[in-house]
C-alpha cells in the first residue's frame, strides 16, 4: 500500500517536534494495515496535534478543543465500517476529560492517540494536565500546585480495554499504533514526546529522559485484561434490533355525547405520589371519547415524591387556545400542597363551580358547591384518590359520563390495574353537597 501522506501538504511542525515523527509513523501503520484513505477518518481538535488531519489523504474532521472524541463517536456509530483515528494533545485531553472517561466506558471501536508533550505548544507553553510540577512552563508557578494526570491509569480505571503508554521514540512505534488501531474496541495510546518549540526550550528533556520517566510509572502495553468486553457499536445494534417498534399515536373515535359543549376547566390539586397526572390524562382521554378537544397542563416541583402535583384540564368542543385555567368549572382538592399552591384561586370561585374536597384536606372558604368525599373511609388508598374523584364527578354528572370514563380507563390501563381502576370509579360514592 502506498503512503497516505498528502504530498501537497507536508508537516509544518517545528524542527525536531515529536509530532512529525508520529505523522510518519502513523502513515507506516496505515500502510501496514493496507488501508486506503476512503476507509479512514482522521479526527482532530485544537493545538499542534490538531494539524494531523491535514497531512493525510483520508477523510478528515477537525473540530473544537477537546471534543474530537465526540465527533469520532458520531462518525463511528453512523458508519461502523470506518477506521476512526483521533489525535489529541495533552491539552485536548485535559479540557475534554469527560469525553475521555465516557469513551473508555463506552468502548466504541476507535483509536485515540494522545500526543503528550506536557504543555500547550501552540498558545505559548502553558501547563497542561500532564505537566510535571517541577517543569518551567508558561504559566508561572501554577503547575507547581497541581499533580500531573496519569492518562493511562485513568483510562484503565474508566474501562478502556486497550491502553498503551510509550515514547514517541520507541523503535517499533508504528507497530504499536497498528496494533492499537486493529484492536476491536476503544484503544488509547499515550505517546510521550518532545516539544522543542516550547517545552524543551526551558526544560531539559531527552529521549532517554522520557524513557526514565516512563520507567517510573506502571507500564501499559496493550489489552487490559479486566476491561475486555463487547464493542459498543455491535452491542448497540444487537440490542436495538430487539426493540419493539413504536405504534402510531392511538386515535380515539368519539362514541358518546359530551356532558357539555361549553369550555370546561378542571383542576386537580394534589400532592406528589397521588397519581394526579395520570388521572388528568384519563379525564382528557374521556373527553376525546365524547369528541371534545382537550388539553392537560401540569404543574409540579422538580422533586418527584414531595410537594404539590397539579393538573389543569380543559375540555371544549371548540379548538383550545389558552391552556391555563381562569374560571374552573371543577376543582378537586386532594392534597394540602396542591391547595396551598392555588390558595388564591378559591376566592374567585362562584356557585357554578363544583368542588370535590377530600375529607381531611382543608380548603379556603369559597362560594362553590362543595362535595366532601371521605375517600379513606370508602376504602381507597391515597394513590387512588385522584382516579376515584373522576368517578365521583361522573356520578354527579359533571364534565364526564361514566361510560366516557370507563372507555378512557380501558384504553389507558391494562390487566389487573385496569380491573382495579374500573372498580374504583364504579365503587366511589360522592357525598351530598354540603
Amino acid at each position: 500500500m502506498d503512503s497516505l501522506l498528502n504530498a501537497a501538504r507536508p508537516p509544518v511542525f517545528c524542527p525536531g517536534c515529536s509530532h512529525e515523527r508520529i505523522t510518519h509513523t502513523l502513515d507506516k501503520a496505515f500502510q501496514a494495515m493496507d488501508l486506503d484513505g476512503q476507509r479512514i477518518a482522521m479526527v482532530s481538535d485544537i493545538g499542534c496535534s490538531g494539524l494531523f488531519d491535514t497531512f493525510f489523504n483520508t477523510h478528515a474532521l477537525h473540530g473544537l478543543h477537546g471534543r474530537a472524541l465526540t465527533y469520532a463517536a458520531g462518525l463511528k456509530l453512523a458508519r461502523p465500517e470506518l477506521t476512526v483515528v483521533v489525535t489529541m494533545g495533552d491539552g485536548g485531553q485535559g479540557i475534554g476529560g469527560a469525553h475521555l472517561l465516557a469513551a473508555c466506558r463506552r468502548n466504541l471501536d476507535m483509536t485515540l492517540l494522545v500526543l503528550n508533550n506536557f504543555n500547550f505548544g501552540m498558545t505559548g507553553g502553558q501547563y497542561s494536565a500532564t505537566t510535571p510540577p517541577d517543569a518551567e512552563v508558561g504559566s508561572g508557578f501554577l503547575n507547581r500546585l497541581e499533580r500531573p494526570l496519569d492518562v493511562c491509569s485513568v483510562a484503565k480505571a474508566a474501562g478502556a480495554p486497550y491502553v498503551v503508554r510509550c515514547s514517541a521514540y520507541r523503535s517499533d512505534i508504528a507497530d504499536v499504533i497498528r496494533r492499537a488501531v486493529e484492536f476491536k474496541g476503544f484503544s488509547v495510546v499515550d505517546i510521550w514526546g518532545i516539544c522543542p518549540g516550547r517545552f524543551s526550550k526551558r526544560n531539559r528533556l531527552t529521549t532517554k529522559g522520557i524513557e526514565e520517566m516512563l520507567s517510573r510509572l506502571p507500564p501499559f502495553d496493550g489489552e487490559v485484561a479486566e476491561n475486555q468486553r463487547r464493542e459498543f457499536g455491535a452491542h448497540y445494534r444487537e440490542l436495538a434490533a430487539a426493540q419493539k417498534p413504536v405504534p402510531p399515536p392511538a386515535a380515539v373515535i368519539a362514541q358518546f355525547d359530551p356532558v357539555s359543549i361549553e369550555r370546561q376547566e378542571v383542576i386537580l390539586l394534589g400532592s406528589a405520589g397521588q397519581r394526579v397526572i395520570t388521572a388528568g390524562e384519563i379525564l382528557c382521554l374521556a373527553g376525546l371519547y365524547a369528541g371534545l378537544n382537550t388539553t392537560q397542563k401540569n404543574d409540579y416541583d422538580i422533586t418527584v415524591l414531595r410537594g404539590p402535583s397539579i393538573s389543569e384540564m380543559t375540555l371544549s368542543l371548540q379548538a383550545i387556545d389558552y391552556t391555563g385555567i381562569s374560571r374552573p368549572s371543577i376543582v378537586v382538592a386532594l392534597g394540602p400542597e396542591g391547595v396551598a399552591r392555588r390558595r388564591k384561586m378559591f376566592a374567585g370561585l362562584d356557585e357554578t363551580c363544583t368542588v370535590i374536597q377530600a375529607a381531611g384536606v382543608d380548603i379556603p372558604a369559597c362560594r362553590a358547591q362543595i362535595h366532601r368525599v371521605d375517600f379513606k373511609d370508602q376504602g381507597f388508598k391515597g394513590t387512588d384518590w385522584a382516579l376515584a374523584s373522576l368517578g365521583a364527578l361522573a356520578k354527579l354528572g359533571r364534565v364526564v359520563r361514566p361510560e366516557m370514563l370507563e372507555a378512557a380507563i380501558t384504553s389507558r390501563l391494562r390487566g389487573d390495574i385496569l380491573a382495579g381502576a374500573l372498580d374504583i370509579v364504579r365503587r366511589v360514592e360522592p357525598s351530598e353537597r354540603i
Binding site: G74, A78, H99
Partner: protein, 373 residues
C-alpha cells in the same frame, strides 16, 4: 374525526422520524427530556441511533459527527444546554453541518426553574454563536406545529446546510393536547444535495448560481474534509482575505437572501383595526383568545403570529403593520423580539407586553394591554 392525546415533545420526536431523522443524541434536562425518551423508543427499532451523551457538548458533538457521515440528526435541550452547545453551534454554522437543535425553553436566567416556561432564549439562539452568523429559528405554537415545524426544520437544515432551531416552550412541550393524527404527516421530505454527475467536488465549493455547497459524506467513496477553522472551498485553512470574505459572505447570504422564502407567519387581519398584535409561540394562543373576545365585544384587533423568528420575517411584519396605528408585541420574556419589530417598523408606535415569571400570559393581560396600554 379521531383524536389523539399528545404532548408537544412527542410531536417533535414523531416529526423528526417522519422527516428521516435516524440519529439523536441528548442529555437529560427538564423540560426537553421526553424528546430523548421518545427518540429512544422510536429510533432503535428503525435501525437508527439514539445516544445519551456524557454531557450536552458531547451530545451535539455526536450529532455533528453523524451528520457529516450523512445522517439526519437532532438534539434537544433547554436554555442551560444551549449555553453548553454554543461552541458546537458555531462549528455547525461555520462547517455548514445540517442539524436540528430543539430548545424547550424554560424560565431563566441560568438554571432558573426547570418546570416553568418562558420564551427567554429567542435572542440567545440567534446570537449565541461566535462570529454572529445568521441562523434559522422556528417557533411552534401548539402540538401540530411541533410536528410540522420539525419536519420543516429538517428540510431547511438539509437544504441550507445549517443548524435549524426549534424554539419551543415547556408550556407546549409538556402540555398534552388533542390532535388529529391525520394531520401529523410529512408531506415533503428534502435531503441534502449531492454534487451532480460529473460535477467537480470540493467540500465547500459552490458553482455558479449556488449558495450552498453540495454534500458528500465522510466515509464515502470520495475524500471529504470538515473543519472548524476558517477554510476555503477545499476545507483547508486559508488566510487569504479575499477567499475568507467569499466564504463568509456566502454563508451569511445563503440565509439572509432566503428570508422571504423562510418566512412562515399567520396573519389574521381585522377590518378597521387600530392595533396589530405581533406574537409567537404559546403566547399566540392567549393572543388569539384575547382577539376573539375583543372582536365579540366590538373592538377589532389584527393578529400576526410568527412561526419563523429568524431570519426576521421583515416583509411580512411590514405588510401586516401597514394600516396599524399601533403595534403591540406580546412575548413571554422581558422584551426581546420587540427590538426586532421596532427595527423593522421605524416610526411606528411599537409597544411591549411581556411577562417572565413562569406563568402563561393570560388573554386578560393582553386584552388589558390592548384596551388600556
Amino acid at each position: 374525526m379521531a383524536l389523539s392525546l399528545m404532548e408537544g415533545n412527542e410531536a417533535i420526536a414523531r416529526g423528526a422520524v417522519a422527516a428521516g431523522c435516524r440519529f439523536f443524541a441528548g442529555y437529560p434536562i427538564t423540560p426537553a427530556t421526553t424528546i430523548l425518551n421518545h427518540m429512544l423508543a422510536m429510533l432503535p427499532p428503525l435501525g437508527g441511533v439514539c445516544i445519551q451523551g456524557e454531557d450536552e457538548i458531547a451530545s451535539i458533538g455526536f450529532c455533528l459527527g453523524a451528520s457529516m457521515a450523512g445522517m439526519k440528526v437532532m438534539t434537544a435541550t433547554s436554555g442551560p444546554g444551549i449555553s453548553l452547545y454554543s461552541e458546537q453551534i458555531s462549528f455547525a454554522i461555520g462547517g455548514e453541518i445540517p442539524i436540528v437543535i430543539v430548545d424547550i425553553q424554560r424560565l431563566g436566567p441560568s438554571t432558573g426553574s426547570a418546570t416553568r416556561g418562558a420564551d427567554g432564549d429567542v435572542q440567545f439562539l440567534q446570537w449565541g454563536n461566535s462570529g454572529g452568523m445568521p441562523v434559522i429559528v422556528l417557533a411552534p405554537a401548539d402540538v401540530e406545529d411541533c410536528f410540522r415545524l420539525t419536519v420543516q426544520a429538517f428540510n431547511l437544515a438539509e437544504q441550507y446546510r445549517c443548524p435549524v432551531f426549534i424554539a419551543s416552550n415547556k408550556e407546549i412541550a409538556m402540555t398534552r393536547a388533542s390532535v388529529d393524527p391525520e394531520r401529523l404527516k410529512a408531506e415533503i421530505v428534502i435531503d441534502r444535495a449531492a454534487p451532480g454527475p460529473g460535477q467537480e467536488f470540493l467540500p465547500f465549493q459552490t458553482h455558479a448560481g449556488e449558495m450552498v455547497p453540495a454534500f458528500l459524506p465522510i466515509g464515502g467513496g470520495r475524500l471529504v474534509r470538515q473543519t472548524s477553522s476558517t477554510h476555503g472551498p477545499d476545507g483547508y485553512i486559508t488566510t487569504d482575505p479575499a477567499e475568507i470574505t467569499r466564504q463568509l459572505v456566502r454563508m451569511q447570504a445563503k440565509i439572509t437572501t432566503a428570508a422571504d422564502r423562510l418566512a412562515m407567519v399567520e396573519h389574521c387581519p381585522a377590518e378597521s383595526a387600530d392595533t396589530l398584535l405581533v406574537t409567537y409561540g404559546v403566547t399566540s394562543r392567549s393572543a388569539l383568545a384575547a382577539v376573539c373576545e375583543l372582536k365579540a365585544s366590538g373592538t377589532p384587533v389584527s393578529l400576526l403570529v410568527l412561526k419563523t423568528l429568524w431570519p426576521v420575517p421583515e416583509a411580512a411584519i411590514r405588510q401586516a403593520a401597514i394600516n396599524a396605528r399601533r403595534v403591540l408585541v406580546v412575548e413571554m420574556n422581558q422584551g426581546q423580539y420587540v427590538r426586532e419589530v421596532e427595527r423593522v417598523l421605524p416610526g411606528k408606535a411599537v409597544q411591549f407586553c411581556g411577562q417572565m415569571d413562569g406563568r402563561l400570559i393570560t388573554p386578560e393581560t393582553i386584552r388589558e394591554a390592548i384596551l388600556h396600554g
